[in-house]
Each structure stands twice: as C-alpha cells, then as structure tokens.
C-alpha cells in the first residue's frame, strides 16, 4: 500500500461490498462510453459474424442466422479499466460456446483474436471465452444494444476488463499463439483480469 495522500479520506466511496474489484467505483445508473473510434453506423441487413482461424468448420452467420441459435443471457457486473464498474446489468444474445460448437476449434487453438467492423481487435485466451464466460450480445436490458455501446452486437466477456468485450464485433479468429490486439499493442494487459488489477502490460 502506498503512503496516504494528505487530506484524502475517500469520502465518496460507496458501499458495494465485495462486488467491486480493487480500484473500481460503482458508476450507478451511468454507462460511460469509451472507444477509440467514431461510432459506426452498421446495418443489420449486411451484418455478419465469422469464426475462423484454427477451426474445423470456419463459419459465418448473418443477423438472422445468429438469432436462430439458442439464446443466452448474462446478468451481473461489468468492469472498465478506466475504473468504473456497473452492477446488475442484463445482456442478451448467444453464448460463444454455441458458436464454437459449430466451428469446432482444433486442439492447437489456445487463443482468440476478436475483431470488429471498425478494425478494432482484442486478444483473449480461449479458456476465457468458453465454459459459459462469453457471449455475442445484441440486447441490453431487453432493448436493442445502442450503437455507441457496440450495437448492433458486441462481444461480452464480463469477467475481464471491458475493453476485451469488443464493440461492433465481427468475428473471432482462433490462434495457437497470443497476438496482442489494439489496446494490448498500446500498453494494456494481455488478459485484463479486474480482480488482479491487470490493467497495463507488466501488471
């Protein structure tokens, strides 16, 4: 622990019990918008999502096709590396497990690189997007996900910092080696576990 800052007592802290990872605060009803690019205007008619790379069956789904898969939802908390957390949020979409069941990863696949329609990328261990831990979502609180929050669809990996939950997601490439994505090349952590405060490279 660093030495105390003169005159700082943390008067603003809110009681959130043990649900806030270290260094995070509860943003309450706000949902800050953070992204490095202009919000794209994506038409669901031309939207696709692709799983490729080290898979037996590279697969592309259209908007209608992905909606025909078994639905899955998440209710819980999200944590942004800029120190806000948002508690009790509800997203609806499809589990990444369902998509991988179709594409069938090869045994040598250990990482994924998620990519967006904007060119954004982020890397994750395969184990962090399987086993009910990751989704492609298009509903937020029962309504279509707003464009500034990644709509029509974004990746959702809520147990990691939220930059891993790529907005405007367009696909996943399965890889043998970890390949740093956009923020990871720019100094952010390759895994990004909020409970371990893995914010930057070297954490």
């Amino acid at each position: 622990m660093g030495r105390p800052t003169r005159g700082f007592f943390g008067r603003g802290r809110r009681p959130a019990g043990d649900r806030l990872p270290p260094g995070q605060y509860d943003t309450g009803a706000d949902w800050p918008v953070l992204s490095a690019e202009v919000t794209p205007r994506l038409d669901t008619a031309g939207w696709t999502f692709t799983v490729d790379g080290l898979v037996e069956q590279p697969t592309t789904w259209t908007w209608d096709e992905i909606h025909a898969l078994a639905p899955s939802s998440y209710f819980g908390d999200i944590h942004c590396v800029t120190t806000w957390s948002k508690l009790d949020v509800n997203f609806g979409g499809v589990s990444v497990d369902t998509l991988l069941d179709v594409a069938h990863p090869r045994p040598e696949a250990h990482f994924v690189l998620a990519r967006s329609h904007t060119g954004y990328t982020t890397n994750l261990p395969l184990a962090d997007v399987t086993g009910g831990k990751a989704w492609v979502v298009w509903d937020y609180e029962g309504r279509p996900l707003p464009a500034e929050h990644g709509g029509p669809a974004r990746l959702l990996v809520p147990h990691l910092y939220f930059w891993k939950s790529a907005k405007w997601v367009s696909g996943l490439a399965l890889l043998a080696e970890d390949t740093p994505g956009f923020w990871e090349v720019n100094g952010y952590h390759d895994r990004g576990d909020p409970w371990l405060e893995q914010r930057y490279q070297g954490d």
Partner: protein
C-alpha cells in the same frame, strides 16, 4: 480505425511514482491545471495521459486518468488539467485540497493511440475539457514551429468555459461558442457545424476528436459527412469518471 500496428509495443508502464505538485493554476470556474514534478521523469507523447492515485489512511484508493496538457519537451514536469465533476471523488479532492508542495502518486504515460508527434498533418477537434490532450499537441507544434501541420477547432459553451484562453489564439485555432459568444464574435452562438470544420482536411491528415460522449458522437458524424474517412479519425471520449 486502421489496422492496429503489429510492430513493437511502447515501453512497459513504469509503475507508480511520486509526483510533487509545483504549481496550481485556475483555467475556468470548473477547471484547474496541476503542474507536477515527477520523481522519475520519462518521455511521453502529446495526447497521452497519466493515472493519478489517491490513498486514504486505511488503504482505500481511488484512481483516475487525466490527459497531459503540456508539451512533451517541457523538462521533467507535466501539467494535468482537471475538470471538477459533480460528486467527483478524485477531481473534487484535487480541486479542493491540493496545493503546491503536496505529493501525489502517478502512473504513466498511458495510451499509444491518441498521440501525435508533429510529423504528419492533423485536424484537432475538441469539445469543452476535450481540448486538454489537443493542447499538448498544439504546444508541441508551436515549440517545433510546425503550426502549419495543425488545425485546432475547439467548441465551448461560453467564453468563460474556454481553457487556456490567453494561449490558444493563433491562425491555426478556431473557437466555436455554442451558447454565448464574446463581444465582436461574428459567428452567432450554436453547436458545431460542418461549416466550422471547413476546409476538410487532406486525405493523409489524421483527425483527433476529443470530448464528452455526446460531443464526440455529434462531431464524429459531422466529420464523416464532410468526407473525413472514419479510419482517419482517432477518438478519445471523456466520460464521467470523476
């Protein structure tokens, strides 16, 4: 957004270090600039930010990121301009308590995307406090006598909301007032328009857009409408993370 660079990463973050407050200046009623002398000064790029961490006696901490306003080649000191936010835990402390001589913990520089090195032409568009990282770029350009590379458009509500008011004016800077204009201003008050962004930047130019989420959404649409390719626009959104 263009394809991310696949080459080397920027240097690993250097961890937390102590910084001594050497000067506090008021910019507007709701913004102050803090000049910090770093214990271990290192290079940074215009547009990057530092994280400031406050520690309470019981070990509780609060951290927030603030963009550097000063130019990179400004000795071992950095200036952070901080807007006072409603209920802002960190901004409130910085505004109400901090004075020269105080020690803060900082970490950085952070961010390798929203940066400009005075090598390529750029259009800078800032709303309100979003001018801060752009000011670092403007100061860099002026130090290097490369104002010819830059055009800065700043949008504020009124003259009282303009940061760096004494230093900003120059042929490369245009200030847009959305609610209230200063005496002698020909443009009536109003939100940023496509007209304010003319002429459209040349194609190899990069546009840096910074401000609140609402400003960035609106200005981003204008930029696309005047023909700026989306992949040439880099965005930094200032959220309510006080």
């Amino acid at each position: 957004m263009t394809e991310p660079p696949r080459r080397s990463r920027p240097p690993t973050q250097t961890g937390w270090q102590a910084a001594t407050v050497v000067d506090v200046r008021r910019e507007t009623a709701r913004a102050k600039t803090f000049r910090l002398a770093l214990e271990r000064p290192g290079p940074f790029r215009a547009g990057q930010h530092y994280v400031v961490r406050l520690t309470a006696p019981d070990g509780y901490t609060a951290s927030r990121s603030y963009s550097v306003a000063s130019a990179p080649d400004d000795g071992g000191e950095i200036e952070l301009t901080v807007e006072l936010l409603e209920d802002g835990e960190v901004s409130g402390y910085l505004h109400e308590v901090v004075e020269p001589g105080d020690r803060l913990e900082v970490r950085g520089p952070v961010g390798g995307w929203f940066t400009w090195d005075a090598a390529e032409p750029a259009l800078l568009v800032g709303g309100g406090s979003g001018v801060v990282p752009l000011m670092s770029m403007l100061r860099l350009a002026r130090r290097r006598h490369r104002e010819d590379l830059l055009r800065l458009v700043v949008s504020v509500r009124s003259p009282a909301d303009l940061y760096y008011a004494d230093e900003l004016p120059g042929p490369e800077v245009r200030v847009i007032y959305s609610r209230e204009v200063p005496p002698g201003e020909a443009r009536p008050p109003g939100r940023l328009t496509a007209e304010d962004l003319h002429p459209a930047p040349e194609r190899r130019s990069t546009t840096y857009l910074c401000g609140s989420a609402g400003f960035v959404e609106a200005a981003g649409r204008l930029l696309v409408d005047v023909g700026v390719p989306v992949e040439r626009i880099r965005v930094e959104r200032f959220g309510p993370s006080g």
